[in-house]
């Protein structure tokens, strides 16, 4: 399973997502669409650190890194040793 798929599953099952998984596209606006709130962001960070074995610093928590599933995957790729 790719990073994008894993994060999509996490968001669909754990956060505020009422649609289908197909509707949660790679470019769906997660922040502007209020899918991720501040608490949800902290939970995604914990999920990524545990699932992907990476460390996400405070300075990485900027909107552009979490705006879409694609952006999150890019962040994970960049952080993966």
């Amino acid at each position: 399973m790719t990073t994008t798929q894993r994060v999509r599953t996490f968001i669909a099952e754990e956060l505020r997502w009422d649609g289908t998984r197909e509707q949660l596209t790679d470019d769906y606006p997660l922040l502007d669409g209020s899918v991720i709130d501040s608490l949800g962001l902290m939970r995604i960070v914990q999920f990524l650190e545990e699932e992907c074995g990476i460390e996400i610093a405070d300075e990485d928590l900027v909107p552009e890194n979490f705006a879409t599933l694609s952006a999150i995957a890019t962040l994970v790729d960049r952080k993966t040793p």
């Binding site: 754990e14 956060l15 505020r16 922040l31 502007d32 209020s34 709130d37 501040s38 608490l39 949800g40 962001l41 902290m42 939970r43 914990q46 460390e55 405070d58 300075e59 990485d60 928590l61 900027v62 909107p63 552009e64 979490f66 705006a67």
Partner: protein, 383 residues
């Protein structure tokens, strides 16, 4: 698993207790009545090294690790009866020094941190607004870029240290439609045109810690006063809240220990019906509950300090510590008064003041209800 303190930690703890007892406890009752801030004691704390605990030595700090910081603050709470002074120290350390240290430019760090550590500069953190408290990111203060400046408009309330602060860490939104992603943080000096501070607000407890409102009216802030990147307000706020929730109540563990020892002494000496009141289970069981509470609180706190040192702490850990320590300090404050009976209710015995001080802990830095919400979310049982 090793529960022993290092020799250095033991020495620091003992030194903090001796310092606090000798230097910080004069006229606390009078200061509480007058709601006056202990400026001289603040300076003494700085000279001892309290304000600099979390700050690296190159910026004038003590470069202490999280567990050592917690031990020092616990010792401060044990030795110092001015909980308002300790609250003001906490407000600066976690919500002003830490964000500048973690997100500030080198110039900002050089300009502000040595002065904060040295006691000459008091700082305040301005997030809450009349319309946004627990819903912190629902704030309405705006920040608009204009040439080489940001222009801020709005008002803040419950700003601890505002009446005496010379510099403020202020949060504002650059784009309300983006929610928390539009949030920006600024370091703003008191004499900046457009910034004004309201009258001090009167509180139930922690009365020696001044608190007030902050008004921003076309307040023009140079671009270089932005803290972190545009839109980085949320991680700045969250990281400082993690530090604050983790450390702000370390002193209450010391306070609870002091109250426990005082209750044991009183229960052994005070006689009713021809025997010491400690022989009555109604009293002794209450004191045992106080002991259990302080030991549990200390274990939770130290474990969090260790997790922070290992970079393994999560918002769940800090929420549980904040929740348990605040609720415990209120329960212990009530028990201490009950053990002392009528005397405990008297101002002279200082227990009523400590209870008033403790009640605020269930509200500031996120209410107990918010801590439960955070914990529930991280347990996967709510969104």
């Amino acid at each position: 698993m090793d529960f022993d303190l290092t020799d250095d930690q033991r020495v620091l703890r003992d030194e903090v207790i001796s310092f606090a007892r000798a230097e910080l406890n004069d006229d606390v009752g009078a200061r509480d009545k007058q709601a006056s801030f202990a400026a001289e004691e603040w300076q003494k704390c700085a000279e001892f090294g309290i304000q600099g605990l979390p700050v690296p030595a190159r910026y004038g700090g003590g470069d202490a690790d999280p567990l050592t910081i917690m031990l020092a603050m616990e010792a401060l709470g044990y030795g110092c009866k001015d909980n308002g002074l300790i609250f003001s120290l906490n407000a600066q350390m976690w919500a002003c020094e830490v964000p500048i240290l973690l997100f500030g430019t080198e110039k900002q760090k050089q300009k502000y941190l040595p002065a904060m550590c040295g006691g000459s500069l008091v700082a305040a953190h301005a997030m809450s607004e009349p319309g946004s408290g627990s819903d912190a990111f629902g704030l309405s203060t705006t920040a608009k870029p204009s040439g080489d400046r940001w222009v801020l408009n709005g008002s803040k309330t419950f700003v601890t240290n505002a009446p005496i602060a010379e510099v403020f860490v202020v949060f504002a939104t650059a784009d309300r439609t983006k929610g928390f992603a539009g949030l920006c943080a600024f370091v703003i000096e008191r004499d900046t045109p457009g910034l004004s501070v309201g009258h001090p607000l009167e509180k139930m407890g922690l009365r020696t810690s001044p608190i007030g409102e902050l008004f921003l009216e076309n307040c023009e802030v140079p671009l270089e006063n932005l803290l972190g990147k545009p839109g980085a307000g949320m991680p700045i706020f969250n990281s400082s809240m993690e530090w604050e929730r983790s450390c702000i109540l370390a002193s209450t563990v010391g306070t609870m220990q002091r109250q426990l020892e005082r209750c044991i002494e009183y229960a052994r000496e005070r006689e009713q019906f021809g025997q010491s009141i400690g022989t009555f289970q109604a009293v002794s069981h209450k004191i045992v509950d106080m002991k259990l509470r302080v030991e549990t609180a200390r274990c939770l706190l130290y474990r969090l300090g260790w997790l922070m040192s290992q970079r393994k702490a999560t918002p769940l850990d800090s929420a549980l510590v904040k929740l348990y320590l605040s609720e415990s300090s209120v329960s212990t404050g009530l028990d201490a008064i009950q053990v002392h009976g009528g005397y405990g209710y008297m101002v002279e015995y200082e227990l009523e003041r400590e209870l008033r001080d403790a009640i605020g802990s269930r509200i500031y830095s996120g209410t107990s209800e918010i801590q439960r919400n955070v914990a529930a979310a991280f347990l996967g049982i709510s969104q």
